[in-house]
């Protein structure tokens, strides 16, 4: 078992502990019933996604400053993991909305801006996949990653800037009883560890893939030069 596999096992174990906190420790909500337990991972995933997109932002800025390949790899890793956590946020939110609001989806500011966030970073991944690997693709990716981050504060503050169906901030407003708050912070911590492990694994994959591509390019260049040298 290598260190990445050990880190993944530790992250899964932490998520199981979070599961115990969510389903055993946290009390059932009086108004919404058991479905309110979606809250713990729904909000934690959203915050983990913000963190991942912050990695894309920092990676993009560092790449534009000094063309660091490592920064570009971190940005790619952050974007992929961020899209996964945004998907979890969106789908869990929809499944929570149906029994509470009576509909899976409504075009309010929070839901729409989160969907836009998902589209921006899914677009980023698509650009990186379709573009020819190299400086040009990395530069375009960095710019998309930096400008895409503008949507993160829009998502976060949408519930205070506009009137939305989505509830406003409840954690910072002390609207949760202590046991729920403790379960939430534990889930948040475990989810952030999981996101960090996922980024680290993806970063390693990107590194190995880049090295492999460099070797393949070198192997293509060498035979092309051989006949010239033979002349």
């Amino acid at each position: 078992m290598n260190r990445y596999e050990k880190a993944a096992v530790a992250a899964v174990a932490l998520m199981l502990i979070a599961g115990v906190a969510i389903f055993v420790f946290a009390p059932t909500d009086f108004l919404q019933g058991p479905v309110q337990r979606i809250f713990y991972l729904h909000v934690s995933s959203a915050i983990a996604a913000y963190g991942c997109f912050a990695v894309v932002l920092v990676g993009g800025i560092v790449y534009l400053r000094n063309e660091s390949a490592a920064a570009d790899r971190f940005a790619r890793a952050g974007a992929l993991v961020g899209v996964i956590f945004t998907t979890v946020t969106l789908v869990m939110g929809m499944l929570w909305a149906k029994p509470i609001w009576g509909t899976y989806w409504t075009w309010d500011a929070r839901l729409t801006s989160t969907l836009v966030l998902w589209i921006i970073y899914a677009g980023y991944l698509l650009v990186r996949r379709l573009a020819e690997p190299g400086r040009q693709a990395a530069r375009i990716g960095a710019v998309v990653g930096i400008f895409g981050f503008v949507d993160v504060p829009v998502v976060h503050f949408s519930v205070t800037w506009w009137r939305t169906q989505h509830p406003g901030p409840i954690v910072v407003n002390d609207a949760l009883p202590p046991q729920m708050l403790a379960a939430f912070f534990l889930t948040l911590a475990c989810t952030l560890v999981l996101a960090a492990v996922m980024i680290a694994i993806r970063y390693r994959i990107e590194t190995l893939q880049d090295e492999r591509e460099d070797l393949l390019v070198a192997a293509q260049v060498v035979p092309a030069r051989q006949p010239e040298a033979a002349r």
């Binding site: 993944a8 789908v91 929570w96 149906k98 996922m198 694994i201 994959i205």
Partner: protein, 33 residues
């Protein structure tokens, strides 16, 4: 209750599935290297 179960089943499948596929890909790349 059904929505709660489906929501967490989806999250576990997506996050767990992604982690599993990533580790398999990493092992494959390290073996090639």
């Amino acid at each position: 209750m059904t929505y709660l179960v489906v929501a967490y089943a989806f999250a576990v499948a997506l996050l767990g599935g992604y982690l599993f596929v990533s580790l398999r890909r990493l092992r494959e790349l390290e073996r090639i290297q």
